[in-house]
Symmetry: C2
Subunit: 185 residues, 2 copies
DNA sequence: TGGGTCATGTAACACGTTACATGATTTC
DNA sequence: GAAATCATGTAACGTGTTACATGACCCA
């Protein structure tokens, strides 16, 4: 149900192919609604049948042919109605590391897993920084917020950044606790 | 695949019925691996067949009969091996509010949704505080960390707390941005 | 007398994952 | 010469969601 609206929302940025959308859902949208290419092709098929998106065939010579999708007025309206309704499902986080940590008996292994998570989080923050730069495009945050008509993409990006920053802080905390115990152990 | 280990990990706390586990997955485990009762019953059935948990029938007179599940040595070993492996899947967050915000055109509606989220986050933090008190059981954090042999449950609780705190900070930020724009609008 | 708790479960469906297939083109 | 990119898709499977059913008990 929500994937549907995530796809519609991503088409607010303009016409896109399934392949292009799969890139979006692998990077920016991944932070709050991940989806695989297969899910997207299935969903786009349905949306097209329901008249919420329109598909346009594009013949290509040196590349496989593709279909470009656009929001229809009906799709735009459906999305608008969705956006103002309170969410029915609470936020769901699935983090395998926390299962491992919950079960963990070996502090050395725990240490290694947490270090790995930190490296990964730093990498993600770097990528977010680049996305932010592309969005701001040389402007300050203030200027951007004044000029752009849609703030949504920026606010969701901020959420991704703050999630990873908090991730790092929590990791530091965990390492501290593990060290503490090692000192007494 | 991970639900399996989440169930095994929750049985580290001791014997439990499917119903009891469904409470755990609705509260503490919900922060990193939510699951419905139906998923748990299905999973427990499988785990019992694979010999990773053992089921014990308990006849009751004034309540429906129940089955109590315990980790077998094989289950404990399987879990231990899982815990030291690096996670194969990255953290996945699914947050409907962010889809709505991404698509949002109406700042008033956005404001309302964010306020609602803040109320909800504060409620969750309160509940976490109570879980924390129960865990610490009158001891300071330092005492607890020295005395308990498993720190996992405390570290995952900290993650839940830090997630909601960050959630609140981000919400404040969003409200600030919306106000900012309203002032210029 | 209506709703919540205890306790399990079935059935149907929706959603998500994995593996595979195609095949030219571009990049290292 | 191998791997990645573009671009789509099928098939099979595994996971997660929703609705429903049972039935006694407890509480206000």
């Amino acid at each position: 149900m929500s994937l549907k609206y995530a796809v519609l929302a991503s088409l607010l940025e303009g016409e896109a192919s399934g392949y292009e959308l799969s890139k979006v859902f692998d990077v920016s949208f991944a932070n709050f609604w991940p989806a695989t290419p297969q899910q997207l092709y299935r969903e786009l098929e349905r949306l097209a049948q329901d008249g919420l998106v329109e598909a346009r065939f594009v013949q290509q010579e040196r590349r496989p042919n593709k279909r470009m999708f656009t929001l229809t007025p009906a799709g735009r309206e459906d999305l608008r109605a969705f956006a103002v309704e309170p969410p029915r499902r609470p936020t769901a986080v699935r983090d395998e590391l926390l299962i491992k940590l919950q079960a963990m008996e070996d502090p050395e292994a725990a240490h290694a897993l947490v270090e790995e998570r930190m490296t990964w989080a730093r990498g993600k923050l770097d990528r977010y920084e680049r996305v932010r730069d592309r969005l701001l495009d040389g402007r300050t945050e203030d200027e951007y917020l004044r000029e752009s008509d849609r703030v949504g993409p920026y606010l969701t990006l901020l959420r991704g950044i703050s999630f990873e920053e908090e991730n790092l802080r929590w990791c530091e905390r965990v390492l501290g606790v593990l060290k503490h115990r090692a000192a007494w152990g």
